[in-house]
Amino acid sequence: MKLDTSIYLLDWLFILKGAGITLFLCLNAMVFGSILGLIIGTMRTSKLSILKYISGAYIYIIRGTPLLMQLFLVYYGLPVFFRIIVSAYTTALVGLTVYAAAYLAEIVKAGLQSVDKGQKDAAKALGMTSWQEFRSIVLPQALKVIVPPAFGFFIALIKDSSLVAIIGFIELTRSSRMVISRTYQPFTIYLGVAVIYFVICYGLSIISQKYFKANRQDIPKASQPWKTVAIKVS
C-alpha cells in the first residue's frame, strides 16, 4: 500500500486552529503576566527593602534561566510538589505567565521610575494619599511608557511560546509537527508555519505602531495650532 503523503486543506485548517490556540494561550499569559508584573514591578520600586529584594530575586531568577527549563520545572514540579496533575494547557499557561511577569515587571519598574518626582510632590502637596498619588498620577503617566514595550514583549512571547510544544501542548508548532509526522513534508509545513507566525507578529506590530502613534501626544489635532504652523512653514 502506498503511503498518502499529500497535504490536505484539512491539515492546514488543523494548523490554523493551532495558531488560534497559540494566540489564545499568549493572550491569557499576557493578562495574568501583566497583573503579576504590575505587582512585582511596583514592589521593585517600593521603599521597603524586603519587597524590593523579593521582587528583585524573582526577576533575576526568571530572566537568568531558559524558558524551556522553567516549562520543564512547572511540568514536572507541579505534580511532585503540589500533588496535582494539571493539563498541558495549564502547565503552558503557568510557565508563560511566570516568564512574562518577570520581563513585564522590569518594564513596569522602568515606567514607574520615568515619572518625574515633581509630579509626586505635587500630588502630595494637594493632600492626596499614597494610593491616590499612585492611582491618579503615577500609574497613568507610567502606562504611556509601559504599554509600547509591553506590546513588543507580547509579540516576542508569541514566538517564544512555540517552546510549549515540547511539553505536549497542541498549539501552532505542535500541531504542525503532528501534520509533518503523517505527511513527511517538513519543509513545506514549517515554511507555512513560519509564515503564519510572521503574519501574526507583523500584523500585531503594525497595529501597535498605528495605535501608539495615534496616542503618543494624547492631544486632539485641532488643538495643536503650532503643528499646522509648522506644516505651513515647511
Binding site: Q119, D121, A122, A123, K124, A125, L126, S136, Q141, D218
Partner: protein, 250 residues
C-alpha cells in the same frame, strides 16, 4: 507682640540634615494670618528645604511645626490634613502632564475634597478666570507657556482653599518677559489677604509684596524684619553683603 490667635504658622527650632549637611539650623519663625513673608538668601541657604518641611514634603529631624495651634506630626495621618490647608507652588510648576488644565484643577478637589463634578468644575473655572486663563481650560500643560503653567498651578493650589500658600522660587524657571504675569497674580492674592511664604530672588517683588523679609544663609535665619529695614538698613554684615551683590549688579 502679635495676638497668638492671629498666628497661622509657627516653626520652633527646626533642624534638618541631609547626611553630614546641616541644611536647617535651629530655624524658628512665625507667620501671621493675612501677611506675606518673603524669604531671601543665597542658593543653598536652605530656603527651599524650609518650605518643603512646612508642607511635610521633607521630614524634620527635630523641632516643631504648629499650624492653627495644632502640632503637625509628620508620621501620622494628619499630614494630609496639613497639606489640605497648605498649598505649594513649585519652581518647575509640576502640573500633571497627562491632564488638561481643567482636570489638573479638578482632580484633587474631586478625590481629596470629595466635591461633586459640578462644584469642582465651577470652582476651577472661577479660578481660571481669576488667573486669566479661562480659554485654556482644555489645553495640556505642554501646550502652555511657562507663565501660563505657573498660573494654572496657582489656580490648582487655590482650589483646595488653602489657609497658607508656599511659593518656591515660582518665577525662576520663567523667561524674563513672563515673570510679571505670574507676579501680578501673586500681588492680587496678597491684596485679597492670602497668607503666603514666598521664597524668591526677585528683590523688588519681595519688597513690594511682603510685610516681612527673612534673610537666610547656611541654614540659619540671619536677620528678619520689615522690608524697609532689611533693604535700607540691615543690621548684619552678611545681609548687607548679600543685598549689595544682588541689588548692585547693573
Amino acid at each position: 507682640m502679635v495676638d497668638r490667635n492671629l498666628i497661622l504658622l509657627e516653626l520652633k527650632n527646626i533642624n534638618k540634615s541631609f547626611g553630614n549637611l546641616h541644611v536647617l539650623n535651629d530655624v524658628s519663625m512665625t507667620v501671621v494670618q493675612g501677611k506675606v513673608v518673603a524669604i531671601i538668601g543665597p542658593s543653598g541657604s536652605g530656603k527651599t528645604t524650609l518650605l518643603r518641611c512646612v508642607n511635610a514634603l521633607e521630614s524634620i529631624d527635630s523641632g516643631e511645626i504648629v499650624i492653627e495651634n495644632k502640632r503637625v506630626n509628620p508620621k501620622s495621618r494628619n499630614v494630609h490634613e496639613l497639606r489640605e490647608k497648605v498649598g505649594f507652588i513649585f519652581q518647575a510648576f509640576n502640573l500633571f502632564a497627562h491632564l488638561t488644565t481643567l482636570e489638573n484643577i479638578m482632580l484633587a478637589q474631586r478625590i481629596v475634597k470629595k466635591r461633586s463634578v459640578k462644584e469642582a468644575r465651577e470652582r476651577a473655572f472661577s479660578l481660571l478666570r481669576k488667573v486669566g486663563l479661562e480659554d485654556k481650560a482644555n489645553y495640556y500643560p505642554s501646550q502652555l507657556s511657562g507663565g501660563q503653567q505657573q498660573r494654572v498651578a496657582i489656580a490648582r493650589a487655590l482650589a483646595m482653599d488653602p489657609k497658607l500658600l508656599l511659593m518656591d522660587e515660582i518665577t525662576s524657571a520663567l523667561d524674563p518677559e513672563l515673570v510679571s504675569e505670574v507676579l501680578d497674580v501673586v500681588i492680587q492674592l496678597a491684596k485679597d489677604g492670602m497668607t503666603m511664604i514666598i521664597v524668591t530672588h526677585e528683590m523688588g517683588f519681595a519688597r513690594n509684596v511682603a510685610s516681612r523679609i527673612i534673610f537666610m544663609d547656611n541654614g540659619r535665619i540671619i536677620e528678619q524684619g520689615e522690608p524697609n529695614k532689611i533693604f535700607n538698613n540691615p543690621e548684619q554684615e552678611r545681609t548687607r553683603d548679600f543685598l549689595n551683590k544682588v541689588l548692585n549688579h547693573k
